[in-house]
């Protein structure tokens, strides 16, 4: 058996031990990095969506330069891949996938969900998008087209969903609370109540 076929947790422990012994990667660094990564949640993207719903200038920035818009919302984007944002309209609904692996807008949404990384999603989204979003109970009007965005290269993509009816007069915090992770990938749309 080749050494890389060793059981994974043992392999991780061994690799960590060697990297630490060589002063390449320390346990402390790993602990800190876990804490930083855990802190990134879909709430960040939700805030950006709520801002865009309330402020046309921010909306325009978000669609033109997602990276700048994320930074303006307090998200650290230095060293991160460029962020692209696609807006949902009555005419077009966007659905993001990475058929080749699992490229995901982690800087603004946190870890990708299990389903996004699954063989089923990666295979079906680009070929049967309506069937895929139906798994979440999402049904679009017949007149709405679907645009499937396959993240193959350097950009990471998120969706700017449409603001649901019944939210007139809501502030940013209240609006952000209705925006879920799935809304910003396109498997669901925000609803209230």
């Amino acid at each position: 058996m080749s050494v890389i076929e060793t059981e994974s947790t043992q392999l991780l422990a061994a690799v960590r031990q060697i990297l630490a012994a060589k002063s390449l990667v320390s346990d402390q660094e790993i602990a800190e990095r876990i804490a930083i990564t855990d802190a990134a949640t879909p709430g960040q993207g939700a805030r950006m969506v709520a801002k865009a719903w309330l402020d046309p200038a921010y909306r325009a920035l978000l669609l033109e330069d997602g990276t700048k818009a994320a930074e303006a919302a307090g998200v650290m984007m230095r060293g991160m891949p460029p962020l692209g944002v696609l807006e949902n309209t009555e005419a077009v609904h966007n659905l993001v996938v990475c058929t080749l692996c699992s490229c995901y807008p982690r800087a603004v949404l946190g870890y990708p969900p299990f389903w996004f990384k699954s063989a089923g999603y990666r295979a079906r989204a680009v070929r049967d998008p309506r069937g895929v979003i139906a798994e979440w109970g999402t049904v679009l009007p017949e007149t709405t087209k679907i645009r499937v965005v396959d993240s193959t290269a350097d950009y990471r993509w998120m969706v700017l969903p449409m603001r649901p009816a019944g939210t007139e007069g809501w502030d940013e915090e209240r609006l952000a609370a209705v925006v879920r992770e799935g809304d910003m990938i396109g498997v669901t749309v925000p609803t209230i109540g």
Binding site: P82, G84, V92, T99, L100, V126, R127, D128, P129, R130, K145, I146, R147, V148, V149, D150, S151, T152, A153, D154, Y155
Partner: protein, 97 residues
């Protein structure tokens, strides 16, 4: 670099299978090889992942967002829908040039 392809340019993804010639790392999905699409947007210049993956000094390549019609990709593809994919310029040929 020469001028990037303008939005609206009709392109053909090369019908090439480097996978047959040895170990590679390709970011052009199989389902687009040989397919026709339309450039929607120039996304900038980026180092070629095919080289980076093998620790070779990468060329800088133009990256485009290219739109494809699903009925040209799948038997049940819905007309009017769209598949939008980032493709490096090295994989694109001008259609009808």
């Amino acid at each position: 670099m020469t001028q990037p392809l303008p939005a609206g340019t009709v392109v053909r993804v090369k019908l090439d299978w480097p996978e047959l010639r040895g170990p590679v790392h390709i970011r052009t999905p199989h389902y687009l090889r040989g397919r026709r699409g339309t450039v929607v947007r120039y996304l900038g210049e980026f180092p070629n992942p095919e080289d980076i993956a093998f620790n070779r000094p990468p060329d800088l390549l133009p990256l485009y967002h290219v739109s494809f019609e699903p009925h040209t990709l799948w038997p049940s593809g819905v007309s009017g829908d769209e598949v939008l994919v980032e493709i490096y310029g090295s994989w694109l040929q001008l259609e009808g040039a």
